[in-house]
Amino acid sequence: MNILTIPARNIRRKPAKTLLLLLVFTLGVMSIVTLYQVSLVVGHNFEKKLTAFGANIVISPVRETLNIGYGGFQMGEMLVDFTYLPEEETVAAIRAIGLKDRISAVAPKLVTMARVGAEAVAVVGVRWPEERGIKSYWAAVGRFPEHEGEVLVGSKVSARMGLAEGSKTTLLGREFTVSGTLYETGSDDDTVILMDLTALQQLMDKPGATSFIEVAALCAGCPIEDIVAQLRGQLPGTEVKALQHIVNQRMASVHFIRNLALAVSLVILVTAGAMVGLSMLSAVNERKKDIGILRSLGFGKGQVFAIFCLEAGFIGMLAGLIGYLAGFAASFKVLELLALGEGITPSFSFVQLLAVSLFFGLVTVAAALYPSWKGAGIEPSAALVAL
């Protein structure tokens, strides 16, 4: 028996009213939690889909260049030494960083020059599944290469050299069949011939070598800077560059979803808070007599205030607790209905549960502040005479 007994008992006295209030607030909390969880997952999946439209991190060997000029003749930047990244090790290192869950695709590449007759053309060796993972917008006339002996030709190369589906061409001393040509992409892919990475490594006599590696990282949960820093730590002697414009573009979309969820949550929160405030306000009027009794028995204004706030806070905390659990469960159902659940699922966190119930406890207390203050301010006799 202490001061907590009073609000606790009063809550129990009016189960219908308490339950109704609890229900409204719990539903509010539940919708907010569901919205939050769903927006997290949707945002994540959305970003994951966006990664199919290109990488956002590029890893390349540190290149030493020298600006050469001699006798008034400028040769421009010359590469001092052509270095390569070891494919297997580098990919393994990328996949082993602390934030490895955020790495969605790793696409190694090897670039070289080749001659087709009199013309020079860039040849790029790729790992087809990875490459097509980050370039889902690719479309080909014909089909994509299915084995080492086939190449895919960029649209400009195709036009310039007359290479089309079914053509044969000799690159670096080996004959290849063109399986298809790429529709114009507006990117560098239009001016190159793409082939299997292993085939190119063999032709160049550089087994396991790559020129650079493109990485598609998911930045919704953490800043890209963290991922880049971890990659740098894992890959000394390489240059790790984030393509900021792509990152920002993507985050803007993801943030839009989150901000939308936040705005709706705020509306729900204010509505539920107003309900609690209203109910407390009527409770104070209803309970003037109780206040008079308490005040006549030596309860201070602060204590009367505390009793009302505690009562509201208790409902808020309970609603937060139930609402979080219900919202968590509901988010699975919603994601299932929207068929968005694949990949990542809502993550349960005990700390979050506590934080949510504490937060909503505070919200209800805030909503009850004015009514409680009003109640506490009633003079003891005024509260009794008003009967």
Binding site: M1, L4, I6, N10, G292, I293, S296, G298, L384
Partner: protein, 221 residues
Amino acid sequence: MLTAKNIVKNYAVDGKVVPVLKGVSLSIAEGEFVSVVGRSGSGKTTLLHVLATLIQPDGGELHFGDHDLRRLPEKKLNILRQADFSVIFQFHHLLPYLTVLENSLLSCMHRMKPVPKEAVERAYHCLGRVGLADKADRLPGNLSGGEQQRVAIARALVKSSKVIFADEPTGSLDKATGEQIMELLAGLHQDGMSLVMVTHEPEYAKLSERTVVIEDGMTKR
């Protein structure tokens, strides 16, 4: 012990000042039983509330022992209300959601600190004295009016108050029950408590050592 001098109290009704107490003086000695009588609307309840510090008068002086009650800080007043003063209203003195036992201990429940065991034992004892030992765990809702009144008396007993203010304690009770309550109140007086009782019944006023008549906002000699 409790002295009121020239107490003035006005109410504002529709912007007009309505005088209710126009200079009431009254003094209650330690252990004295004073009854207050007067017509309905004469200001008896107002006077009782002024004496019990439940309302601030607009003028006059109010002393309890060495304390100047009109200038006592709120904190000290609360301590006074917790222990020394007890008010027994005509009705509505119990919180309907607390048990009889909890209601009798209410003045000890203003802190986070649990009510001490001794106080709980004392409360059981006092409830026994007013004949409610077997109803300690009931809610006020299923008690009769007389029983509710007895809980309020038990509460004053638990506090071992110095002064008890009772506002028509038998007003809403039938004759037999009213007599029981009066017996209990007289018992408190016998224990050495001061008792100020507003009543309509001349018969009960006779039980007191002194009767004060309020008429037209003044005490009548």
